[in-house]
Symmetry: C2
Subunit: 436 residues, 2 copies
């Protein structure tokens, strides 16, 4: 048997003790969010109605390291540190001299990285005396993650799921229920917004924008409730940096000269930020020279084809304006399977890093993504999430372009498990999937 | 943070190097299988048409340790050693002083323990020059495991899935396809047996017995094909002992005085045997005194309500006769969700151990099983397989009967992930699930 590493697993007391805030290290400061009414930079007080104080502090912080509270680490330890694998069998299948590693977040309770942020968000809401969380979900990964986290801290959780997903993906709704969440199809009869939408569009299958309106209304009408977000904002991205911190440590145990390429999928940006920001720090401090590549779907290419400007975070234009790469807040992406990547913009911090040249980006069609995912599954025994397939496909492009004999070290962020995405694989294997 | 273990993970080079054959250590020899035609004890030659020589040797062996070939260990290393967890949060939820551990096989490529045997079976068939494997599958766990293993060694794999499952569980069929398997609903048009059954029963939704007939016929008609079995036989049980060997080693790292109870679900018997046989050896050699409890579904209680006698392994009465606890080969269990536990008999080696008092058994209703599974999921962040819920429920009975202050050490075998069983959870949560 080869003596090389197959998987690098840290001890359970090596879960990171701090989140990494990249704002402290950026060569230029990112542009502030603007108040939707006044157009002026947002003040902490403007967010007080929405978020608990610790979340607002984290959202605005310029401090490099933020302590992870013990009760949050306790829950993280159910699945963290997540494993880093050397993809020996994928290397063999590709007949490449490249060294391929992947960091796997599918081991989490809901099979994706989303719990890294849902757990602290639930915790800080509990500290603030809230007893109920509300949110929206599309494919259902964020909804399931928040349901799990709410249950862990004794809070209730109401999730508005886009009706089209609710009906076509019953497994995700079941998962949210197992973790104690209450799921309703949106638009629903439970909110004014929902009722109005149903009256106006009786046949609507819903949208993320509609579901957001309902979840926000529900939280606004209940002083003990709080609305939670699963991506885009600074504090969410920061929570995800446990992924990259672990990966830096794990790769250091692998007798490699350094990492050459990092591929991660990017929708709202929290997965990409989580795994890449600690490597950007490695680059900025001169310890490594990692080329970081955001892999976005060609159906929703905010970085590669969007404009860098202020735009709203939601469809209805009610949120603060964020300086980001955007396709326009009224952009409606094609109904690709990777629901987690269908967002019109890109997180402001990721956008800033891209604009400053700290990361690169490519767009991947979904047929190319699933072709890569099937090859990965057969070689490595893990069926990746639809979203993660974009990162694998990005890595495969690079590997296939590697001159014979060169040994680049490549890390792929596999953000989740594809077990609940199996119908998408059926679509791919049947040969009917369009490439975008 | 507590200093106690949360999970005990062995290094990837600590995958067991040998399988454990309990036959070498049994105080009394188990009764031999009988030829279905002559009624005489089976000879190795009788199996030559069905299995490759190494499998026959293992099936008949009385040698205590059998080397695991390196190419099999290579594949095992994709997910083995599997983790052992201390269930701190479940202990808290139960308000118990018991120490609860669980060994989790859901990390395998198909989310269950089945790959521990499918991989060596595919390997030995490849060595024997076979290029195609056939099998039947009910819920789909074994079919997916064999598809994965066949692909790993470059073999094709044809799976006949009971039509009712094929239609109601499309995710499993998709999983088999991702791993390169060809899945057809049984009865099919591809075999004489299937065509005859469809003519005789045009509306049939199939059965495991029908699917076996088709898979066996397909292999018999192709000299390069071989039929594979996922449970019951000695060699399958032996392959699964990697689970128990790892658990013995992992528990020894946990500063406990010794294991008091082991709960594992039992259908055909391979999961129970895999985790318990190495602990039976601990008991027989006087190192530990573990009470081993097989948890079977009350809808199919072969150990607790069956007879210990010779019976056929299949419904049609075509296999060798096996000395086992059986409800009769024509017994049709209720359509409980734990498809993997719906077998009329119990593996001969497990039956022998039960008859000799080396293991005990209890029967669990499915509502009790799912109640335990939901509690486990919310505490530990892992949704267990329908089958595994029976083991968790068995452990919960014991824990709730533990006098205050006592600290029994309890191990639960969690044989798989329940992500593809989520519709069963929906059935439970809706309040409509019958208890048997």
């Amino acid at each position: 048997m080869p003596e090389e590493h197959y998987r690098v697993i840290l001890r359970d007391d090596e879960v990171p003790t701090q989140w990494y805030n990249i704002v402290a290290d950026l060569p230029t400061p990112p542009a502030p969010p603007l108040h939707p009414g006044t157009g002026q930079p947002l003040e902490p007080g403007d967010l007080a109605a929405l978020f608990p104080p610790q979340i607002i502090e984290q959202e605005m912080s310029t401090q490099r390291w933020i302590d992870i509270p013990d009760p949050v680490r306790e829950i993280y330890r159910l699945w963290r540190p997540s494993p880093l694998y050397r993809a020996h069998r994928l290397e063999k299948a590709l007949d490449t001299t490249a060294h391929i590693y992947y960091k796997y977040e599918g081991v989490s309770p809901v099979g994706s990285h989303k719990t890294n942020s849902s757990v602290p968000q639930a915790y800080y809401n509990m500290l603030a005396g809230n007893t109920r969380l509300t949110t929206e979900t599309g494919a259902g990964q964020w909804g399931a993650a928040l349901a799990f986290a709410a249950e862990a801290f004794g809070l209730s959780c109401d999730i508005w799921q886009v009706r089209a997903s609710y009906e076509s993906k019953p497994y995700r709704a079941a998962e949210m229920s197992v973790f104690g969440g209450t799921v309703v199809a949106s638009p629903s009869e439970l909110t004014q917004a929902g009722r109005a939408l149903r009256e106006q569009f009786p046949d609507t299958t819903g949208s993320l924008g509609m579901a957001i309106s309902e979840a926000v209304e529900a939280a606004a009408g209940d002083p003990q409730a709080s609305y939670c977000l699963g991506s885009v904002l600074n504090h969410v991205l920061m929570h995800q940096t446990v992924i990259g911190q672990e990966a830096v440590k794990q790769l250091a145990l692998c007798d490699e000269p350094g990492l050459d390429y990092l591929f991660a999928c990017a929708g709202g940006g929290s997965n990409l930020a989580g795994i890449s920001f600690p490597f950007i720090r490695e680059n900025l401090e001169g310890r490594q020279e990692v080329r970081i590549v955001a892999c976005e779907p060609s159906a929703c290419p905010s970085l590669t084809e969007g404009e860098f400007r202020y735009d709203f975070g939601d469809t209805a234009g009610m949120t603060p304006q964020l300086k980001m790469y955007t396709l326009g807040h009224d952009f409606v992406p094609a109904a690709v399977h990777a629901g987690g990547l269908r967002y019109h913009g890109m997180a402001p911090l990721v956008s800033h890093c891209y604009h400053e040249g700290l990361i690169g980006a490519i767009a991947i069609g979904q047929r190319e993504a699933f072709e890569a995912g099937v090859m990965f599954a057969r070689a490595e025994g893990i069926i990746p999430a639809s979203e993660s397939n974009h990162a694998i496909a990005g890595a495969l492009r690079q590997i296939r372009a590697t001159p014979a004999g060169e040994k680049p070290v490549i890390l792929i962020g596999v953000s989740g498990s594809g077990l609940l995405d199996l119908p998408a694989y059926t679509d791919y294997l049947s040969g009917t999937m369009p490439n975008t």
